[in-house]
């Protein structure tokens, strides 16, 4: 049986047969087909976890061991970060790195080598993986870590599921005293101001900025920075709360440049002009959008894409300004634009590099992909790259000219998956 499936961006939609597994034996049987890819909670925006044949890890979701002396947690790849938080925050442990949604699986977090608001301090998700087990399409299982089979480890971190199916991994949790975050919010009048703020905030554990991508001129790049630290003392448990839901796809006319501009103005005006301090629970700080079920429906049935790129630090100022100008001129940007300063990063296919990253949503519409192609050229010219987990349309050439580790990755992929039995719509488009 097939059913229509899409990523978080609701674009594209593919008729897909999805099978699960709860043991290695069962997974081995599933790996017989050509063109199959592993998937989890499908929170990647584009087509990286989509294929006509998919293997879901959601039934392979058990905690295997936890050492309260070290915080080392081993689990199967289908365990979600949300599940880990529910179980371990009340015991005083937190994720070493978390993306903007907790509804991702461990396997997905590794395959995308996700990053969070603490990248400048803690690096990406995979820098906190002690070891993992990977099943190759042949059915053979290999354990890898930075010291054991390091090539497999390097290629699997951020490898988009193309080296094999991630079975299990051991993650280093970090101790916390409280489920709350001491947060500081600061308004930045323009791009240089927010960059200054980032550079003076590297001592903070968490920092991120919401940036207005519609306002041009003198206020280009006006932003609101949020930075935070785990609170000391206070409760380790959160009060329960009701979730909101978006029941249907919004009709296309609801979101237009006027309504978004109005939202941005209100949002910006709401933030105090001086630094303001507060205490917020970890859910509100890290996962504001998770409290609204199916928020992706606000972009309507045609779906949307999130465009996220990073520029090297020395090109960030000039490049970011030029790209922002192009985006504001297009009027196609949307409310969710996030700016962040990354720290240095190792890895073959991992997205982050030291420099600034910008992520923003675009509803799918006529003319959009032409604009994004244009942005791609600017990003590549400045030595930057795009995040595969968000991507749904970049060209193979763009990938080749921006990911320096690609050739090494491809030869390793050939070694672990000769003949390329594993593939996604994205990997076929990008010829990887």
């Amino acid at each position: 049986m097939t059913r229509p499936l899409s990523g978080w961006g609701k674009y594209p939609v593919v008729e897909s047969e999805v099978l699960g597994f709860s043991s290695e034996t069962e997974l081995r049987e599933r790996l017989g087909v050509h063109g199959v890819i592993a998937q989890g909670l499908l929170r990647s925006y584009g087509d990286s976890a989509l294929s006509e044949h998919a293997i879901t890890s959601l039934r392979f979701n058990r905690f295997l061991s936890f050492d309260p002396a070290t915080g080392l947690l081993s689990c199967e790849s289908g365990v979600s970060l949300s599940d880990m938080l529910d179980v371990f925050v009340p015991r005083g442990w937190f994720l070493p790195v978390t993306p903007g949604t907790k509804f991702v699986t461990l396997g997905g977090a590794i395959a995308s080598d996700v990053h969070g608001k603490n990248h400048h301090r803690s690096g990406s998700f995979c820098s906190h993986i002690e070891s993992m087990d990977v099943m190759f399409p042949s059915g053979q299982v290999q354990t890898c870590s930075p010291s054991e089979n390091p090539e497999l480890f390097r290629a699997t971190c951020g490898g988009m599921g193309l080296t094999g199916v991630i079975l299990r991994a051991t993650l280093r949790l970090v101790p916390i005293e409280s489920a709350y975050i001491d947060q500081e919010t600061i308004r930045a009048r323009d791009l240089s101001h927010i960059m200054e703020l980032f550079e003076s905030s590297t001592g903070w554990t968490y920092s991120v900025a919401w940036i207005d991508c519609l306002t041009s001129g003198k206020s280009l790049g006006r932003s609101i920075m949020m930075r935070g630290e785990h609170a000391s003392g206070g409760s380790l448990t959160l009060p329960g709360r009701r979730k909101l839901n978006v029941p249907i796809n919004f009709p296309g006319f609801v979101l237009n440049s006027l309504s978004i501009r109005a939202f941005n103005m209100l949002y910006y005006a709401k933030a105090p002009s001086q630094a303001s301090k507060g205490v917020v629970d970890y859910d509100s700080f890290f996962y504001p959008l998770d409290s609204v079920n199916n928020w992706n429906r606000i972009y309507g049935a045609r779906g949307f894409t999130q465009y996220q790129f990073v520029l090297p630090l020395n090109a960030s100022k000039e490049g970011m300004e030029k790209i922002l100008k192009r985006i504001t001129a297009s009027g196609m940007g949307s409310f969710l634009a996030v700016l962040k300063l990354f720290g240095p990063q190792e890895g073959l296919m991992s997205f982050p590099m030291e420099g600034y990253t910008l992520a923003l949503d675009f509803p799918i519409r006529r003319g959009l992909f032409e604009l994004l192609d244009e942005l791609d050229r600017m990003v590549v010219d400045y030595g930057g790259r795009l995040y595969l987990t968000k991507d749904v349309r970049m060209s193979a050439a763009t990938l080749r000219s921006s990911y320096k580790g690609l050739n090494e990755f491809l030869s390793l992929r050939e070694k672990y998956d000769p003949g390329g039995r594993l593939s996604s719509l994205q990997s076929r488009r990008l010829e990887i």
Partner: protein, 249 residues
């Protein structure tokens, strides 16, 4: 040392998705667990998962082959402590078409869903009766409410199991032992993977587990889960054969 105030739930057929959800529900409500299943390798990650999620709960494993009826008495005698509640979640849908001609598959379906379960519950019911306490929960199926062409071998075995539970309840009603029959409709599990189930009618294993625990607490006799299956099956049971024959159910 066993804490005298803690109760123990025996989960029979502990490897299935529904059983795992039931185990989580009971552990979350303060029960110790005995996980009984044939494939111990499959039980290990389930047991470690439960132990990590519920550090207060004692999680034990016990090897059991429901099809080997001669082993049932020995299996149960070996359990220490004895359970306060025994939940039978064994189920095997099998291949209906194959079972129509192949006696091996036919037997596997009827023995797994009925004869094996009933044989084990005979042993447990006897001990509960002597003790004068305990609860037996049998997970049957709405498929047992009326035989239909797509799964009547499974359905008839479940019908027998439903009848068995009904008789057991009758027998033990004044002996201090409760018997609860659970009839799930569509449930999203490995058993139904790849089937095109209508989402509105389909329960998650977690919902089924919650319903079972609630039924236990409220001392119900027969429950359907989701609840409206009671009415769907009421209609299906009362369709005249003349009409039923022509449906494609």
């Amino acid at each position: 040392m066993k804490d005298k105030n803690r109760k123990t739930a025996l989960i029979i057929g502990a490897g299935s998705d529904m059983a795992v959800s039931i185990a989580k529900e009971y552990a979350g409500n303060g029960y110790d667990l005995i996980l009984a299943a044939r494939d111990m390798g499959a039980i290990d990650p389930i047991a470690s998962d439960l132990a990590i999620r519920h550090p207060g709960a004692e999680i034990r494993k016990a090897a059991l082959d429901v099809l080997k009826m001669e082993t049932h008495r020995g299996f149960y005698e070996g359990l220490d402590p004895k359970p306060d509640v025994a939940i039978c979640v064994v189920g095997y849908l099998g291949d209906q078409e194959l079972a129509q001609s192949d006696s091996g598959e036919f037997r596997k379906i009827t023995d797994t869903n009925y004869t094996g379960c009933a044989s084990l519950l005979n042993v447990i019911a006897g001990e509960f009766e002597r003790r004068g306490s305990g609860t037996i929960i049998g997970v049957s199926s709405v498929a047992g409410d009326r035989g239909r062409k797509s799964n009547y071998v499974y359905g008839s075995a479940k019908a027998a199991f439903t009848s068995y539970l009904s008789g057991l309840r009758h027998r033990l009603a004044d002996k201090g032992v409760r018997v609860i029959t659970v009839k799930p409709g569509f449930v999203n599990t490995r058993m139904t993977e790849g089937m095109d189930l209508p989402p509105a009618l389909t329960a998650s294993p977690e919902e089924v587990a919650r319903d079972i625990f609630k039924a236990h607490r409220r001392a119900c006799d027969v429950i359907y889960t989701k609840w409206f299956w009671r009415y769907i099956m009421l209609i299906i049971r009362h369709l005249p054969e003349r009409i039923f024959k022509k449906t494609s159910l």
